[in-house]
């Protein structure tokens, strides 16, 4: 202990105190403060960049998911649309067919009716013509036949004969 105290130099202690104080002051002011603040700034910058990258990544993922969803939705919509269109098509075809059928039937019926009425008209015409013709012929024949008495008698006879047979 005595040697320890003996070796202790108060002068060196004083000089060291002054120099150390000076060194601490100068280093803190000109070196440590700017260094530490730059390091902190850099660390914060790096942290900020990492955070931003992470955020961007997450946004990208969100966007991709959204895109996927949109695509999925669009696909679904397309499919429903196609389906609907197909249904509509079949429905329209069926409807058109039915309509056509109905129309056709109607036309056929009309045609038949027209044919019938035409037929009837034609028959009536025919009948009336035939009747007219027969009357004419009959007139002519009668006229001719009745020009002589005998023949009139003869006809009456034959007609009477026929009438009894009936």
């Amino acid at each position: 202990m005595e040697t320890l105290l003996n070796d202790f130099s108060p002068g060196l202690f004083a000089v060291q105190t002054v120099l150390l104080l000076l060194l601490i002051f100068l280093m803190v002011k000109f070196a440590w403060k700017p260094i530490i603040s730059s390091l902190t700034e850099r660390e914060e910058g790096i942290q900020g960049a990492l955070d931003a990258a992470e955020k961007a990544r997450r946004e990208m993922a969100n966007l991709q998911a959204d895109n996927q969803k949109l695509l999925q939705e669009a696909r679904l919509e397309r499919e429903t649309m196609i389906k609907e269109a197909r249904e509509l098509k079949t429905k329209m075809i069926a409807e058109a067919e039915a309509e056509a059928q109905v129309q056709a039937n109607k036309m056929i019926i009309q045609a038949q009716a027209a044919i019938e009425s035409e037929k009837k008209a034609a028959m009536a015409e025919l009948k009336s013509q035939v009747a007219g013709l027969s009357l004419e012929i009959a007139e002519k024949v009668v006229r001719k036949e009745l020009s002589n008495k005998d023949k009139q008698l003869e006809l009456v006879e034959s007609m009477l004969g026929e009438a009894t047979l009936n």
Binding site: T3, L4, L12, F13, A31, W32, I35, I36, L39
Partner: protein
């Protein structure tokens, strides 16, 4: 617990070093010529461990038998009984045992083992007692630019130059280049591994500057101590004491209410024990903590220098028993191995000093949660907490 163990180990080592110092301090040996015997080696080592007033690179004996010293003198600044006295150390002609008397301002000065004595009026030579202590002189306050002061100045300037350059680099680029790339991780290491965990996230910023300065100061001075320039700055008890006292002042000044409360009036302890605890805590805070800091650094560096020089001295001391080649080889291998350890110790001691300073500061500024404080703790409660 580990810290206490360590302190004890270092204390034991210190005692050993002191014991050996007292043995070789008795042998008065003039620094000159060949060093062959054990006593001469001891005297040489003790001479080196002390501060020096000259900057000597090497010494040799010329063909005429004259002792030559290559180096340069340093200014002496003394506070004597008659005020400030200054002269160059060359006036002592490298004498270190009080035989050369320098007369300035009518006062006589002698240098004995790197300490300056002012002789009593009328005395013309130093008188020694049986234990080789000067009897007719008193030590003066010695503010000289000694070799240690030169070391401090050089390292201080070097640190300032390096780190200001690093600070300037950040103005133009985000990542430093060149030597700054080496320094930056060290700064980050001190900040993130020493200051932040020991002081706490909230307060560490305020103390990082001091811790960084002390860390690089001690480390670089430890490293130059290992070079052949022969600095022994961190092995000067005045330097380590100054560093320890700085730490003491910082943690005493920045200690919060909780810290002082736990020292002076320990909560949760019976009233009668509190004054006794206060005494123990005061001694621990103001004497043991700084003393452990200053002795640990001083003892480690002194021990390192002593061991290296002792191993180098094997070359001369064991020349007769092992032969020139054997003694040189043994000395070389051992001193190289020890040198590796010393490089590690240089870093380790800087780290430990800084780390413990941070720890002590952290204890002073720590904020306790008040829930467990200020109520008398029942022994049963404590036991039930543990069970």
């Amino acid at each position: 617990m580990r810290i206490f163990q360590q302190s004890f180990k270092f204390l034991a080592l210190t005692v050993l070093v002191f014991l050996s110092t007292t043995i070789y301090a008795q042998s008065s040996h003039e620094d000159g010529g060949q060093i062959d015997t054990r006593e001469e080696v001891d005297a040489y080592i003790s001479h080196h461990l002390q501060d020096s007033h000259d900057f000597t690179f090497f010494s040799y004996t010329s063909d005429e038998g004259e002792r030559k010293h290559a180096g340069f003198p340093l200014p002496m600044i003394l506070w004597s009984s008659d005020g400030l006295v200054t002269f160059m150390s060359s006036e002592f002609h490298h004498n270190d045992d009080g035989h050369v008397i320098v007369e300035k301002n009518g006062l006589k000065f002698a240098k004995i083992h790197s300490k300056i004595y002012e002789l009593e009026a009328g005395a013309t030579a130093v008188n020694f007692d049986a234990e080789h202590h000067a009897t007719n002189g008193a030590r003066v306050l010695d503010f000289s630019i000694t070799k240690s002061v030169v070391g401090i100045l050089v390292i201080g300037l070097l640190m300032f130059f390096w780190f200001v350059r690093l600070a300037k680099q950040y103005k133009t680029k985000k990542i430093p280049t060149g030597f700054g790339r080496v320094l930056e991780p060290l700064v980050l290491y001190v900040r993130d591994e020493i200051a932040r965990p020991n002081i706490g996230e909230k307060h560490y910023r305020k103390f990082t500057g001091y811790l960084l300065t002390v860390f690089f100061f001690i480390w670089l001075l430890n490293m130059v101590g290992l070079t052949p320039l022969g600095f022994n700055v961190t092995g000067q008890i005045a330097v380590t004491a100054c560093l320890a006292i700085f730490t003491l002042i910082i943690y005493a000044v920045s200690g919060n209410k909780d810290f002082w409360m736990h020292i002076l009036w320990m909560p949760g302890v019976p009233i009668l024990i509190r004054p006794i605890l206060a005494v123990i805590e005061l001694v621990g805070t103001f004497i043991i903590k700084p003393f452990s800091l200053l002795v640990r650094l001083f003892a480690n560096i002194t021990a390192g220098h002593t061991v290296i020089m002792a191993l180098i001295a094997i070359m001369f001391v064991m020349k007769d028993t092992l032969g020139v080649a054997g003694a040189t080889g043994l000395s070389f291998i051992l001193s190289v191995l020890i040198m590796f350890i010393e490089v590690l110790v240089a870093f380790l001691q800087a780290y430990i000093f800084t780390m413990l300073s941070a720890l002590f500061i952290g204890m002073a500024v720590a904020e306790h949660d008040h829930e467990h404080d200020h109520k008398v703790v029942d022994a049963e409660d404590v036991r039930s907490d543990f069970v």
